[in-house]
């Protein structure tokens, strides 16, 4: 089978493309983009072949001896197994489409040669990471991915925001990478080899002490959290939107963010054995998911909204993984990659259409202007919200079902996160495509074919992706990876209902409420709701509880809203805001408490000092002062005199050595 023999070409082709471009071919932008797209197409074919081979039960390993350190030989090794083949196919397919999109998106960019060189390196290193058969290779690719993200986010380095965002992303992930490195080295040092398969068998064989294993698992997860923007390291992700849109599309779907989830999935047996690690992962995931969803609800920038939604989705993946179901996490990873990249590509088209603006203020009513883009966006937003776009149930169900089996409180938190995802996806869609068009949106039109075709083809892949584990096809993913996706009918029902409620609220906020405002007595307030910030004002009004909010709320509340509905929304939004508030202030408050405690301790000890040791200290100080007045003469400030002292000391040491030798 040819897929087994050539699978190592998948990462190699983009890397070779990078090499050629770096060697000077990048001068011509057209040539660079053609070369990069060709390389990606090649690696797509190769990885699909590899996936077919892996599905037929074939495995392969390719290794290249690198160097030997301390008697241990390190090899660069790639292997083909179901998980790596699946994710590699995902990366290369999405990569190919995004590359095609980027070829026309960046067509006017003067430096696109450099862009495509870095982008190829990005894709190549991600494919290396996915196919890596040993942890050292994986770590190298991991670092390369980090560097590429730095380069790509900061691609427009002459602007203000990108360099800062790039540096932030780089250092945040770098910190996490350091922890990962420690974990990897500990693991390699303990097991004695870098190969993943022996490591996993050693781990499951119970050859490592459980404390050490837990420590290693947490370190590895810290690295994964850094790349996947989980809670302590989440700050870089929204800022990373400063890069070009294809970068965001790729980075948020299949590459950088997926790397963390992939790492946990790759070493899943290790996490299964290290007992509390999975619970921690699940809770971190659900926390991130809630925070991300809450932030996505109040964000006014389209791309940043999508970034927060990525955070929340990746959090849900970790919930799935942390609940003990590998398949649920991987399934969401695959599906999320498809619809999130579609969303980003469509967002890029929308930005282009409304004159490079990214905030919602400049959008609205684009449905009629850009029907195809709207279709693609709607399809993938529906998938994001959790509606059953195709015959299959949404991927989130599996996560929630897994959480149901694991822990009821985890389940309810995940349920809230899932509701949030329905809300924000519906909100984003309605703000962009429905309602009254803004002045800039008046002149919007469909993007050129070079952008539209990739968007539509990716959008059409979304239902296919959802079908990846459909019962109709006989659960192909389960058969590929082994094991089953958890399925609880009750949970599915609850999720579906919640998703529908969320979508209805989200869209209805835009549709129904302005229509209800046609009451003559409230004509004056109408524009507020019909205008761009219907949602924003609502959120502000409910959550702030301030003076202006109260005024508007009184009118709205008494005059028109169904009280129940209003209260539900209000409670929800208060929660949302509170979450956002916690996110912002929790760490500050903690730091404040620590500082206060420290200050009290310091003051107390200072008081003791003053009373107890003062006199003695003063006497000693006086002595030292007089002594040092005499010593001061030694400090001439001349280098050669200092050198003389240094060498005198050296001669003294020598004399000591001679004395010792004489005495012996």
């Amino acid at each position: 089978m040819i897929g087994v023999q050539v699978f190592w070409l998948a990462p190699l082709l983009p890397l070779v493309a990078f090499g050629l471009l770096a060697l000077g071919l990048s001068r011509s932008g057209r040539l660079a983009s053609a070369l990069a797209v060709l390389a990606m197409a090649g690696s797509t074919i190769v990885s699909v072949l590899g996936l077919v081979a892996a599905a037929q039960g074939m495995r392969a390993t390719v290794s290249l001896p690198w160097l030997s350190v301390g008697g241990r030989s390190l090899t660069l090794a790639l292997w083909l197994d179901p998980l790596s083949a699946l994710i590699a196919t995902l990366v290369s397919v999405i990569g190919f489409i995004v590359f095609v999109y980027a070829a026309s998106y960046m067509a006017e960019e003067p430096l696109r040669g450099r862009f495509f060189a870095e982008f190829s390196l990005f894709a190549g290193s991600m494919l290396t990471l996915v196919l890596a058969a040993d942890l050292i290779t994986l770590f190298l690719a991991w670092e390369l991915v980090g560097i590429c993200s730095y380069l790509l986010i900061g691609f427009w380095f002459e602007r203000d925001a990108p360099p800062i965002a790039a540096t932030k992303a780089f250092f945040t992930t770098r910190l996490a990478d350091l922890l990962l490195l420690v974990g990897v080295l500990l693991l390699v040092g303990t097991v004695g080899t870098g190969r993943i398969a022996p490591i996993l068998s050693a781990v499951t064989g119970g050859k490592i002490a459980s404390n050490l294993l837990l420590f290693i698992a947490l370190l590895l997860f810290a690295g994964a959290a850094g790349k996947s923007a989980q809670v302590p390291f989440q700050g870089w992700l929204p800022d990373a939107m400063a890069g070009p849109t294809p970068v965001s599309a790729f980075l948020h779907s299949a590459t950088m963010v997926a790397a963390g989830v992939f790492l946990v999935a790759r070493l899943y047996p290790l996490f299964l054995v290290a007992t509390p690690a999975l619970q921690i992962i699940a809770w971190v995931g659900v926390l991130t998911s809630l925070l991300g969803g809450a932030a996505a609800l109040v964000e006014t920038d389209l791309k940043r909204t999508l970034a927060y939604s990525t955070m929340s989705q990746v959090g849900l993946m970790f919930v799935g993984l942390g609940s003990g179901s590998l398949l649920a996490g991987v399934l969401l990873l695959v599906v999320q990659a498809l619809y999130k990249s579609t969303l980003f590509l469509a967002a890029g088209a929308v930005d282009r259409a409304v004159e490079e603006n990214t905030t919602f203020m400049y959008m609205g009513g684009l449905l009629r202007r850009m029907p195809f883009t709207a279709f693609a966006f709607a399809l993938s937003a529906a998938a994001l919200a959790g509606l059953p776009v195709t015959l299959a149930f949404p991927a989130k169900d599996a996560i929630l079902a897994a959480a149901w089996y694991a822990n009821i409180s985890l389940f309810s938190a995940a349920l809230v996160a899932s509701l949030l995802s329905a809300l924000y996806s519906a909100r984003a869609f309605s703000l962009v495509f429905l309602g009254m068009p803004s002045p800039t949106a008046q002149n919007a039109h469909e993007p050129k074919h070079g952008l539209l075709v990739p968007i539509l083809s990716l959008a059409l892949l979304v239902p296919l992706g959802l079908l990846v584990n459909a019962a109709v096809l006989g659960h192909p993913l389960s058969r590929l990876l082994g094991g089953t996706v958890p399925d609880v009918p009750m949970v599915t029902g609850v999720t579906l209902v919640l998703a529908i409620i969320g979508v209805v609220i989200g869209i209805g906020a835009r549709f129904i409420w302005p229509r209800a405002l046609v009451w003559p007595s409230l004509q004056t307030i109408g524009p507020i709701f019909a205008g761009e910030f219907g949602f924003k004002v609502l959120y502000r009004l409910v959550s702030h509880g301030g003076l202006g909010a109260v005024r508007i709320a009184n009118i709205v509340d008494h005059a028109l809203f169904d009280t129940l509905n209003s209260w539900a929304i209000r409670g929800l939004l208060a929660f949302v805001r509170a979450c956002a508030e916690i996110d912002r202030t929790l760490f500050d408050a903690f730091a404040g408490v620590v500082v206060r405690v420290m200050m009290t301790v310091v003051r107390a000890s200072g008081r003791i000092d003053l009373r107890g040791f003062d006199t003695t200290v003063r006497d000693v100080g006086q002595g030292i002062l007089t002594f040092s007045q005499r010593v001061r003469g030694l400090q001439t400030g001349r280098i050669e005199n200092y050198l003389l002292f240094v060498f005198m000391w050296g001669v003294g040491v020598l004399a000591l050595a001679v004395l010792v030798a004489l005495l012996r």
Binding site: S68, L644, V651, V658
Partner: protein, 256 residues
């Protein structure tokens, strides 16, 4: 003559060259000559390495140090105004100073003589001294009137030309003491001698060692070289903005 005797003779002559030229580096007047002396010392050391059966190291020693010293010499000639020929020598001779001409001068001891109220000779003569050239291109000191030099001027000139600092006696004492202590230590310590001679091909074994056991050190040295290059370039680079802007602004100010 036995081979041992020949070896002793070669050793003694090489050691003599190494020591004498190293000492010559410190006491010679011209820095170019100092650099050359150091180079000669290193080449003699390379000869000692060959005597010690370390041919590879001898070659490396010559390659690294001859190139390095030549660059050093270049810097000296460029920066320290050390022009060619016997200029310093001739200057010393013309000024009727004591000691052999080629040897360096040391800091004058004692406090400086009091400053004269009115200069007997124009102040420019001192600063122009080493710039004056004859039409042949050589440096000529004959037009300096040495007799008219005041004690104070003589003193400042001695200070300018001194190659060593005022702590020269201390330095000599410390050098001698440290060498003596080392010698005592070397004689007192019983070294575990192995009575065999090396047999393997050094270049192959060293190469294999460098790329296996000392891989990290090797890579670290590479990193260090990189850092050294970057640092040296950064340090030696002229800062354009600071150097070039003031004349421009001055010109702009003068033009209107």
């Amino acid at each position: 003559m036995s081979s041992g005797l020949i070896e002793w003779l070669i050793f003694l002559s090489l050691a003599m060259i190494a020591i004498v030229t190293a000492a010559g580096m410190i006491i010679t007047m011209s820095m170019y000559r100092a650099g050359l002396a150091l180079m000669a010392s290193f080449v003699a050391l390379a000869g000692l390495f060959i005597l010690l059966n370390a041919d590879l190291l001898a070659a490396i020693q010559v390659m690294m140090n001859v190139g390095g010293m030549l660059v050093m010499v270049l810097f000296m000639v460029m920066m320290m105004m050390d022009p060619g020929g016997e200029m310093m020598w001739g200057m010393k001779r013309d000024m009727h100073m004591r000691g052999p001409g080629a040897l360096s001068m040391h800091m004058p001891s004692g406090p400086p003589p009091p400053e004269e109220q009115e200069g007997q000779l124009d102040a420019g003569a001192m600063s122009d001294m080493d710039v004056q050239e004859t039409e042949v291109g050589g440096h000529d000191m004959s037009d300096m009137e040495m007799g008219s030099m005041t004690p104070r001027q003589n003193y400042t000139m001695m200070v300018d030309m001194a190659m060593s600092t005022a702590q020269l006696p201390w330095a000599i004492v410390l050098g001698v003491v440290s060498a003596l202590l080392l010698v005592i230590l070397l004689i007192l310590t019983p070294w575990p001698l192995a009575g065999i001679a090396p047999t393997q091909d050094a270049s192959r074994v060293v190469g294999e060692l460098l790329l296996s056991r000392y891989m990290i050190a090797f890579e670290g040295a590479a990193l260090l070289i990189l850092a050294g290059i970057a640092g040296a370039v950064l340090l030696a680079k002229r800062e354009r903005s600071r150097v070039q802007t003031p004349p421009e602004t001055k010109q702009r100010g003068e033009q209107p």
